[in-house]
Amino acid sequence: MLELLDINTYYGNIQALKGVSIRVEAGEIITLIGANGAGKTTTLMSISGIAPPRSGQILFEGRPIHDMEPDQIVALGISQVPEGRRIFPFLSVMENLDMGAFLRRDRDGIKADLEHIFEMFPILAQRRHQQGGTLSGGEQQMLAISRALMARPRLLLLDEPSLGLAPIVVRRIFDIIERINRESGTTIFLVEQNANLALKIANRGYVMENGRITMEDKAAGLLVNEDVKKAYLGI
């Protein structure tokens, strides 16, 4: 479904990604784990067109997307839940969700998806007229995921959804991620520092260090890999 072929991305003169190649198959959950500053967020931003690669190719369903504008990429069916949630603080919960459906024209479909989201996260329905910035961290994460879902993506990119959340909320968020994948068949590309949790729900995983992919395996394989255990699982 998605293929990154030897991409190199720079911030000014600093090379953040060095020859990264990743493959995502339709319907799977893949995870990219690694330390702070390894290049995980940059990888997602390269896919979304915010930090386009200087060289290399990104193919979505066989079509090159590395030269496209971010809005065109969203239109193809790739949505991102960025690190830190990035809720529009002065838009209401409703308006934040509307922004997720920005490119859609099918009113009925939008309405149905909205109902589905309110059923999944009743708290958002309760707070629909509240400003996004006034929500708690967990609620903001739910809103961020919901906003991305409102675009009805076929590929959902999630950047550190567990960041700064209480363990019980993290558990909840991960259940939801699995549910999205299972119920609507949405392919999920999950970036996480919490490697343990991420590898438990993923089919496959990649490990990133200093802008390079250093390991790639089935998630179950990475969970028992000695190097991964030492570096990322804290065992």
């Binding site: 809005d71 969203v74 239109a75 838009l91 920005f102 910035g133």
Partner: protein, 300 residues
């Protein structure tokens, strides 16, 4: 009391014009964090366009009110085209450059447009026809507020309300607010940022041109330099109200208008600018984010 009321309404009229121009500064700043120094020139070009079209329509024998409407229509269209083009030529190529580059480009654009009009037209003051008709029903209160002032107040109110509705309820308005709050996230939601920026420049130029036509036909004279003075005042109004905030620009315009009007009425017209800019200094010292501005710290 009547004198006070006269000054109050005079300040409100003056403030309306400042507010119409300030909207352009504040919206552009909200979206791309640029002080568009060429914005005052858009207002001036609006007034000149109206003058040219008004002259033509006068020769064709139209009546005052239809001249006012047609000339205004021409002015806002022309000015919007200028605003759109200026962004594409002078700011878009510099979008990834350091912010100072775009600012300098804006100042250059302002100087260029002033001199362009100076060369293409004249350096003298040109008489502008008083297009706003005198309403006889205003006669009993004409010593407090004239017909022209009434038209200015009503037009400004209509423009403000329309703009507020547009920003609050349309898809484009939502995209503008989202872009102002978090540009990358707006991109990730599928917003075409170029369209939003162009649109912002068009609306800002539109309101500035409305202000230009109204004030020119009220005062009755224009020259190539009016945009500079009005631009500085409107920029002050935008900062007073809190740059980036639309209601702030309106409030800032009014506060500035009243300050000048009362200073002129009770102290001396020589000191109107002293009071206006002293107010700016005080605001910058005690409330740098402006009256309605938001402090930049946000919850992450």
């Amino acid at each position: 009391m009547e004198y006070f009321l006269e000054l109050f309404l005079g300040g409100l009229t003056r403030g309306s014009i400042y507010a119409l121009i300030a909207l352009g500064y504040t919206m552009v700043y909200g979206i791309i964090e640029l002080i568009n120094f060429a914005h005052g020139e858009i207002y001036m070009i609006g007034a000149f366009t109206a003058l040219i079209f008004a002259s033509v329509f006068t020769l064709l024998g139209f009546n005052d009110l239809s001249i006012l409407l047609l000339a205004s229509l021409a002015a806002v269209t022309w000015a919007s085209a200028y605003g759109y083009t200026i962004e594409k030529l002078a700011y878009k190529p510099l979008r990834k450059a350091p912010r100072l580059s775009a600012l300098i480009s804006a100042i250059g654009m302002s100087i260029f447009l002033q001199n362009y009009v100076l060369l293409a037209q004249t350096s003298d003051f040109l008489p502008f026809p008083r297009l706003i008709p005198h309403f006889s029903f205003m006669d009993p209160i004409v010593h407090v507020i004239g017909s022209a002032e009434l038209v200015i107040l009503i037009t400004t109110a209509v423009v403000m309300i329309a703009l507020t509705l547009l920003i609050k309820f349309t898809k484009l308005g939502k995209a503008m607010r989202a872009t102002a709050q978090d540009r990358d996230m707006a991109l990730l939601s599928g917003v075409n940022i170029n369209k939003v920026i162009s649109f912002t420049f068009i609306i800002g130029s539109f309101t500035a041109a409305v202000g230009g036509v109204l004030i020119a036909s009220h005062i009755g004279m224009i020259n190539f330099y009016i945009g500079f003075i009005a631009g500085i005042k409107a920029f002050t109004a935008a900062v007073l109200g809190g740059i980036g905030s639309v209601p702030g620009a309106v409030l800032g315009g009014m506060v500035l208008g009243w300050t000048e009007s009362f200073a002129t009425g009770y102290v001396s017209s020589d000191y109107e600018d002293v009071f206006a800019f002293s107010l700016l200094v005080l605001i910058l010292i005690f409330r740098p984010e402006g009256i309605l501005g938001r402090s930049t710290t946000q919850k992450v």
